[in-house]
């Protein structure tokens, strides 16, 4: 039983690590391309191409560079999570009506102030929905990590497939499906919470 709980926790940890790094890079990149639209198309298509690479192919290539283990898995999950975060940050900021940004500037806010106090809060529901997509996808992709020596629920699934054991496959899958649904619910709540506060102001 404790093996099972460890597997669930390791799965969550690997997924969260990959997504958190992707959020840090992705939000920064999204803000950057919203400010400098010249780079938008290039950055978005690079992220799009990365996401298009088959997961097994990407993980295997990362394994060659970073070796067997959780590190390669975290890097792979991070690369996969970039596109939804960058794209949603970018759309979230660029779809704010110009009048709002001008009002912020007119009140005497500096550009960083306008970004932190006006643009990012308004873009937050969009950004959160990007993070949700990234997290749920990463939960599923992390299973492949077992093939390059990563830990987590993939081990149960893989052993189950090799032993043709239904029980083991189900034991590995149910937590992933439940975690995905839970994460979707959690991010949706967060998103609506933000929205409610926004309309009150």
């Amino acid at each position: 039983m404790s093996d099972f709980i460890n597997a669930v926790l390791e799965h969550l940890a690997v997924t969260a690590a990959g997504v958190v790094i992707a959020v840090l890079i992705g939000v920064a990149a999204g803000i950057f391309i919203a400010r400098r639209p010249v780079f938008a198309a290039a950055v978005l298509s690079v992220a799009d191409i990365i996401q298009t690479i088959p997961s097994l192919a990407l993980m295997a290539m990362l394994m060659i560079v970073f070796g067997l283990g959780d590190l390669s898995v975290v890097i792979g999950l991070c690369l996969y999570s970039l596109l939804p975060v960058i794209r949603n940050t970018y759309t979230g900021i660029t779809t704010i009506p110009p009048s709002i940004r001008e009002a912020a500037r007119g009140m005497g806010m500096s550009r960083p102030q306008s970004l932190l106090k006006v643009e990012l809060p308004l873009a937050m529901p969009m950004i959160l929905s990007g993070i949700r997509v990234a997290f749920v996808t990463a939960l599923g992709t992390a299973v492949i990590g077992v093939l390059i020596g990563g830990g987590g629920l993939g081990n149960l699934v893989y052993r189950g497939i090799q032993a043709l054991d239904w029980g083991m496959i189900i034991e590995g899958t149910v937590p992933i499906v439940l975690l995905s649904l839970l994460a979707q619910h959690f991010f949706n709540r967060l998103q609506h919470f933000k929205r409610r506060r926004k309309t009150n102001v």
């Binding site: 097994l56 939960l139 499906v177 649904l181």
Partner: protein
């Protein structure tokens, strides 16, 4: 041995794997489209069923690819057939969702105008709703194709062959050249397929919708 030398000596094996991969992906995509588009249209006509089906589809989509293939293996055994069945089952979902939302989001003004000028239900569907929803449907197909190509590499695990076979064998005997010989063509294949479908999507976007976007 360098990667290029490896490619020269094993050129034939790589090409065969690529061919199997393309066949498997094309076959799965074809069936997924044939099933999902009519099913999506049907769902727009039955609201209650749509809610249930889309909720179930949402849950099924969170099941990892490796698990689905494992289930396919347990039910249908080893080989290409179980993989294709699993790939179809998964490829159906994004197309189904996009067909449904694409048609649902067609402005009622258009369908009512179409009825008003005397179109039958079938004409409204084929001449108004489907053309307007087509870009969304093609976007769904793009998602499915990229997933299918990706999962087809995993399908080597249950004996389907294809480029995944090279990656698998390479991973298990730590042969870097072999991993790259599978991983690079698989990546290029997915990127190329995505690019081609983007072109199709531009081509099928109705002229009226294109100019509207340009003006904004």
């Amino acid at each position: 041995m360098s990667f290029l030398e490896y490619l020269q000596t094993d050129w034939q094996a790589v090409m065969n794997a690529l061919l199997v991969h393309v066949q498997m992906s094309l076959l799965s995509t074809l069936f997924a489209v044939l099933i999902a588009v009519p099913a999506g249209i049907l769902l727009t006509r039955h609201e209650k069923a749509a809610k249930i089906v889309l909720a179930v589809a949402g849950v099924v989509q969170t099941i990892p690819g490796l698990v689905m293939l494992g289930i396919g293996l347990l039910i249908f055994g080893l080989g290409m057939l179980p993989s294709v069945i699993v790939l179809i089952a998964y490829g159906v979902l994004p197309i189904l969702q996009n067909t449904y939302t694409g048609i649902r989001e067609v402005d009622r003004l258009y369908t009512e105008a179409a009825r008003g000028i005397g179109m039958t239900n079938r004409q409204v569907l084929t001449k108004v709703e489907l053309p307007i929803a087509l870009p969304a449907i093609v976007a769904g197909i793009r998602l499915s194709v990229v997933y299918i190509i990706s999962w087809a590499t995993l399908a080597a695990l249950i004996g389907a062959g294809g480029l995944g076979d090279l990656i698998w064998t390479g991973l298990s005997c730590y042969d870097t050249n072999m991993i790259l010989a599978g991983a690079i063509p698989a990546s290029l294949l997915a990127i190329l397929a995505g690019f081609l479908i983007d072109l199709v999507q531009k081509a099928v976007t109705p002229r009226g919708m294109k100019t509207k976007k340009g003006e904004e």
